[in-house]
Symmetry: C2
Subunit: 129 residues, 2 copies
DNA sequence: CTGGATCCATGTTGATACTG
DNA sequence: CAGTATCAACATGGATCCAG
C-alpha cells in the first residue's frame, strides 16, 4: 500500500495491483451510503424497499447504484425471486461480512477517540473563526 | 451506526451523533489520498515536499488540503520550524496511528479476498459486456 | 415492487500560476 | 520550502418521471 501511485503495470487487467484494490475498497466503504447499507445487511438479508426505508433518506437511484457497486465487488449477493410482484433479496457475502467487521472497528475507533476528534475540530473552528 | 439518518438532534454542535463522526471518518480515509498519506506518515514524521514526492502524483494543492483535513480531525500534527527556509513537519498522532492500524486491516482484508473481488469484478464485466 | 433514464446541484480533484 | 488563489474537469448524490 505504500506505493499506490506507481499506476498499472500490466494492461491485461484493470487492477492487478492490490494497492489499487485497497484504495477502491476504501473508496467504496467511504462513500455516503455503502457502510450503512452493509450495516443493515449485517443483521440479515433485506429486500430493496425494506433497505430503502431502513437506510433513511437515500433515494432509490442511489440505493440501486450502491447495491450494484457492492455486488460488483462481491460484497453483496442479489437474489431475484420470480414472483408477482417481483421480490429481490440482498445479503452480505462472507467477504462482505468480514469487511463489515472492519467497519465496526472504525466505529469502535470513533468511540474511543470521539473526544479527540471533537477537540481537534473545535480547535480548528477556533483558529479559523 | 445503524441509525445514521436521523440527523443532528442538537444545534450546539455540528456532530454530536457518533454515527455522523463514523461516516465522516470513513469518508476521510476513503478519499483518494488520505490513506496513503497516513501510511507514509506511519513510518515516521515527514516534511511537506518529502510527502509530496512520496505519495506520488499528488498535487501540492491536494496534499495541502488532505493534510489540513487530517490535522482538523486530530489525526496528524503540523509542526512549523521557523527556520530559513521554512520547514514543516507532519506526524501521526496516537489516534492517527490507531486509525492507520485499521486501514492496515483493510489491506489485510484485500489480501485475503483479492481473488473474490477480482472474480466478482470479472463476472460483472462478463454480464455487462 | 424493483429499478432504469434523465436532468441538475454540488463537492472533489487536478492544472497552473503566484507569494512569503 | 511551503503554501495560497483561481479555474476547469469529473465524480457523486439527488429529484423526478417512466417501465416491466
Amino acid at each position: 500500500m505504500a506505493d499506490a501511485r506507481k499506476g498499472a503495470a500490466s494492461p491485461t487487467a484493470e487492477e492487478l495491483d492490490p494497492c489499487d484494490v485497497v484504495r477502491s475498497i476504501l473508496g467504496r466503504v467511504g462513500d455516503k451510503w455503502s457502510a450503512v447499507v452493509m450495516d443493515e445487511l449485517a443483521a440479515g438479508p433485506r429486500r430493496f424497499n425494506e433497505l430503502r426505508r431502513l437506510v433513511s433518506p437515500i433515494t432509490q437511484r442511489v440505493l440501486t447504484s450502491t447495491l450494484r457497486a457492492l455486488e460488483g465487488d462481491g460484497l453483496v449477493t442479489r437474489t431475484v425471486h420470480p414472483t408477482i410482484p417481483p421480490q429481490v433479496e440482498y445479503a452480505l457475502t462472507d467477504s462482505g461480512r468480514a469487511l463489515h467487521a472492519i467497519i465496526k472497528n472504525v466505529a469502535a475507533w470513533t468511540d474511543a477517540y470521539l473526544g479527540t476528534v471533537h477537540a481537534a475540530r473545535s480547535a480548528r473552528k477556533d483558529s479559523a473563526g
